[in-house]
């Protein structure tokens, strides 16, 4: 047999190698449209959280700076510990802290009610990662001088770290452990108590 003839036979026979059926155009198009809509939605949510996270982090950092500066007297002595000085300079810090606590409460409430043990939403993990940075800043802020608030922040840091590290596929036991920890340490109740009451950005009740 000549090489050319073999090549032709080979090529003809190869046409049956994984011969595709008719292209399922409409079904694939529907799935593409759906997938793109989900990706757009996911990106919008991520962008919104990123903007919020950056804003809060910046305001908190500013507030902490002002707080540390105002906490020292003219001779560099510390003022009374345990309370955030109630001065206009701390307004930014108070607003940011109140927003941080509200956002954290919203996340944990959502996680507790919506996270299915078999498939926790990856969105929770992304939001938890954003909030972790702010939690660390809060722990370094004057707020941490309050023993109750410091304990709450430390619990929040642990819970947020656990949510942030949840694998994408989800793990039933991990989710159960997190919700169990939330219940046992009454984290949500303590968090709600710490959130200043009343409308508007400057809430003077609660732990702050």
């Amino acid at each position: 047999m000549t090489g050319d003839r073999f090549e032709r036979l080979l090529r003809d026979a190869a046409q049956d190698y994984h011969r595709p059926p008719e292209t399922p155009r409409e079904e694939m198009w529907r799935r593409i449209v759906g997938a793109r809509a989900r990706r757009r939605q996911h990106m919008l949510v991520q962008r919104r959280w990123l903007h919020w996270g950056l804003g809060i982090t910046a305001v908190l950092a500013l507030g902490i700076g002002i707080g540390r500066w105002t906490a020292r007297g003219p001779q560099g002595t510390e003022t009374t510990a345990g309370r955030v000085p109630n001065e206009p300079g701390n307004l930014a810090y108070r607003v940011a802290a109140a927003q941080y606590l509200s956002r954290t409460e919203a996340l944990l409430t959502g996680f507790r009610t919506e996270a299915r043990p078999s498939a926790p939403d990856a969105q929770f993990a992304a939001q938890a990662r954003d909030l972790l940075t702010t939690t660390r800043l809060m722990l370094d802020s004057p707020a941490a001088r309050d023993g109750r608030l410091k304990a709450l922040l430390e619990d929040l840091e642990l819970v947020l770290a656990q949510i942030a590290q949840l694998p994408a596929g989800g793990d039933k036991e991990d989710v159960q452990l997190i919700t169990q920890g939330l219940d046992e340490r009454s984290v949500l109740l303590r968090l709600r108590t710490a959130i200043p009451a009343g409308p508007g950005p400057v809430r003077m009740q609660g732990a702050l």
Binding site: A13, P20, T23, R25, M28, A35
Partner: protein
Amino acid sequence: MDERELIARVRAGDGAAERALYDAHVDRVYRLAYRLAGDDELARELTQDTFVRAFERLASFRGESKLSTWLHAVATSVVLNGLRKAKRFRQRETDLDEATGISGGPPPAEPDLKRRLAQAIDRLPKGYRIVFVMHDVEGYTHEEIGAALGIETGTSKAQLSRARGKLREALADFAGEWVS
């Protein structure tokens, strides 16, 4: 509508233009995905991923090549990555089947030419198999293959030649029947 206008309209978010671009290229992308994957569901997923990614990245398409060349480079990248993941998944399944003793029965005693050829193609080294399928089965040119895989045209030709050589060796016993 020419290609440049189509691209401009897709970039502007024109849904009809997106559908036109999809209609113009989906057959070839799906066929390649199916030929390489050998599985309808996987081929559909790979085709969908190709277009989702292509629509997202069209803003970065600078028009230095034809749209079809660029799109097939995206498709080839998606398909090869998808096949790597699927292979790992299938390997785990195979291991499980072997461990539980539920693997398939013995192979057919007298496989015909097409079955033997399919097996021989499956056993080709990955690079040879891709070039062989793209060129001899789906009719891509060496220039298109080179652009899609990021290799030189000469490399594509050399790999095709080696692929054919290996298939010829694998089917040597059939060659005798064809001669007679």
